[in-house]
């Protein structure tokens, strides 16, 4: 696999011995084949998951991997009601969107504060924030539980939002700080000369220019917050404040052979992230290109 990895590069034209057309065609076919196989590997499980969600129980066991003879939406209606998706979906949306928004914004503030390299505190704080990526959730979950209970957030959606905001910071700071540091200093100087306060410099110049990075951070943090299972399992077990992953798993405990039902709820819980990703995929890529690689 590695050895064949060396035949890329568009500048083939400059090489003296052009590969003969036949060899080129074979090479091209092989490369396409690799892409198709990889894509199939990713897509086939997802495809069967979606297919299965439209099958009734007997049909699933008769024919787990064929197309359904009859497309049934009953799994979806049952998931919506019995799995409490009607309750946990709004919860998940609120928790994720608020946490993402606040966490990304705070990350941008921190990134701007730390991007001024001449300040002595910057390097230390940067390391501190980024090493947050290593903090073991299993170790801090109990103190966190106690803390949230003590300040009275337990039992509300804030019990998830507050930790998520903090836990989104390491990634946000990691991606945004190099991006903020790479903004031309003259731009910031110009804004100061134009009469802007430090806050206005941030709000009017720095923040808009961080946009690609903000999108990347929002997607990356949003995805894990949306999908997080362990933290809400411990901290938000009451149905009113439950998020979808926990809701689905606790619901499935009693229906585990009803694959159609299981996959219907999984599909519902997945679709919003996929849509968000599809909408922002281009900016997501460019944010990563400009930010993370330099960190």
């Amino acid at each position: 696999m590695t050895d064949t990895a060396v035949s890329p590069s568009p500048s083939r034209a400059a090489s003296l011995r052009r590969p003969r057309p036949v060899r080129r065609a074979i090479g091209k076919t092989l490369r396409t084949a690799v892409l198709v196989i990889a894509t199939a590997w990713v897509l086939i499980p997802l495809f069967f998951m979606v297919i299965a969600s439209f099958k009734s129980v007997p049909e699933f066991f008769m024919n787990p991997f064929g197309l359904p003879a009859e497309w049934s939406f009953s799994n979806y209606t049952r998931a919506w009601e019995d799995a409490h998706l009607s309750l946990t979906l709004p919860n998940t949306i609120i928790v994720t969107s608020v946490s993402v928004a606040v966490s990304t914004f705070l990350s941008a503030l921190v990134a701007y504060g730390l991007s001024r390299k001449e300040k002595k505190f910057a390097a230390g704080f940067y390391t501190l924030f980024v090493s947050g990526l290593l903090v073991p959730v299993h170790a801090i979950i109990l103190p966190l539980f106690i803390l949230l209970k003590a300040v009275g957030l337990f039992g509300t959606l804030f019990a998830l939002i507050v930790p998520y905001i903090a836990m989104g910071l390491p990634l946000g700071v990691l991606v945004l700080t190099p991006l903020a540091a790479s903004l031309p200093r003259d731009l910031i100087h110009a804004a100061r000369m134009d009469g802007a306060t430090e806050w206005q410099v941030f709000r009017r110049v720095v923040f808009p220019l961080l946009k690609p990075g903000l999108v990347s951070v929002s997607i990356l943090n949003g995805v894990w917050m949306w999908n997080e299972f362990f933290i809400p399992l411990i901290i938000a077990f009451r149905p009113e404040v439950q998020t979808m992953p926990v809701g689905i798993v606790s619901f499935i405990g009693s229906y585990s052979t009803e694959w159609g039902l299981v996959f219907a709820s999984v599909v519902v819980s997945t679709i919003p992230v996929v849509i968000a990703y599809l909408l922002m995929t281009r900016q997501f890529q460019s944010g990563l290109t400009s930010g993370a690689m330099k960190g």
Partner: protein, 387 residues
């Protein structure tokens, strides 16, 4: 209005062991156009940043009008700055870029609209107002940067090499546009450049810096005619002044086997050479040496030497004469700094600007007439003019 005084301004960047700016004393009159020139790295941008409040001075103070603004924020100094990189906000349209300073200070919309359009008219930007800076040419971006500076009607302009990213033709045009705008607005301006043509043509006065130290401040004519030291002498002028070690002997100055009389004019301009018998540095501008065959009257003073190189520039010839005198270099003149010529100097070469009527040819020995009323004399120890 606003005169600017810099009092003992010094700046040493943290981590640096030499100051980038030392004890700068400068008074700039209200409405004056002061050009700050010097070789790369001499501290010009540092000076501007300190004046603009983007860097804190290590010592000294900055006064605008009757106010000590040393501890003021940039935004409170009523100064506008044009950056070498233009520093246009890439995410805003031209309109918003120009309007930004007004939007920040909460001027009302109608007023902003009116003023932006006025400024856009002056700068011929009317048709670009809705474009983003990324779509503009270098010259247009430069004008947007100017627009953003003038819209506030500040009391001081700072400009850091605003033309250095433009091509030669555009630079000439913008040079006069900026000078005109400044004359019309009468705003005190400090203009940084390392281009001596800009320095000589734009400024009311020129300040020359080297290694963080101010060398001389004077009108362009004065700088050219009466340089304060060998550095200024060789920095201004293209090709630069020829400097030789010489010896004063009564009323004659000898250098190598050549000698020239010391005239009344020389004594007036350089009183320091009166009764001074001994070593000096003698300065000769290329423009003050001419082929003796070209002028009609008999030369009252001349040098004689072989032509080793001749470059014809159309209007005149650059002639290199081999002299046996010891040449003095002021090593800080950066290579490539001259605009029209890039002269490599070797020891014992005197560059002269002969008129194109001169029949001079390489290899021949010529008699060159020297305008002895325009000789320059410097102390060989300190390099200072002998005044």
């Amino acid at each position: 209005m606003a005169n600017v005084s810099l009092k003992g301004l010094s700046k040493t960047y943290s981590g640096a062991d030499v100051p980038s700016l030392s004890a700068l004393e400068l008074d700039i009159a209200d409405g004056e156009f002061l050009v700050l020139v010097g070789p790369s790295g001499c501290g010009k941008s540092t000076a501007l940043k300190v004046i603009g409040g983007l860097e804190e001075p290590s010592e000294g103070s900055i006064w605008i009008g009757k106010t000590d603004v040393t501890d003021y924020e940039s935004r409170d100094r009523d100064i506008a700055m044009v950056f070498q990189s233009y520093a246009l906000y890439p995410h805003m349209t031209v309109f918003d870029n120009i309007a930004f300073p007004l939007q920040i200070s909460k001027v009302d919309r109608a007023e902003i609209d009116k003023r932006v359009r006025e400024v856009a008219d002056t700068l011929h930007l009317g048709t670009f107002l809705n474009q983003k800076p990324g779509n503009l040419s270098g010259g247009q971006r430069q004008r947007v940067a100017m627009g953003r500076a003038i819209i506030r009607q500040p009391s001081v302009f700072l400009m850091d090499e605003p033309l250095s990213n433009l091509d030669a033709k555009l630079r000439v045009r913008m040079r006069s546009e900026i000078a005109q705008i400044q004359r019309r607005l009468k705003v005190t301006t400090i203009y940084v450049t390392h281009d001596q043509v800009e320095a000589m043509t734009m400024g009311d006065r020129v300040a020359i810096m080297k290694g963080g130290l101010l060398q001389q401040v004077a009108s362009p004519d004065d700088i050219y005619a009466r340089p304060a030291n060998t550095f200024v002498a060789s920095f201004i002028g293209s090709p630069p002044m020829n400097l030789f070690r010489g010896h004063i002997d009564g009323n004659i100055v000898r250098f190598g086997s050549q000698s020239l009389p010391i005239t009344k004019e020389s004594l007036t301009a350089y009183p320091g050479i009166k009764d001074r018998n001994g070593e000096v540095i003698l300065g000769l501008r290329p423009e003050d040496i001419e082929d003796a065959r070209v002028s009609d009257d008999a030369p009252e003073a001349s040098i004689e030497a072989e032509i080793v190189l001749l470059e014809s520039l159309g209007a005149d010839h650059m002639v290199h004469l081999a002299l046996d005198a010891e040449q003095v270099h002021d090593g800080d003149r950066p290579a490539g700094d001259t605009d029209d010529l890039d002269v490599v100097r070797t020891d014992g070469v005197c560059i002269c600007r002969f008129s194109s009527r001169s029949p001079a040819r390489v290899g021949e020995r010529v008699t060159a007439r020297v305008s002895t009323d325009r000789l320059h004399f410097f102390d060989p120890e300190t390099g200072l003019a002998l005044r």
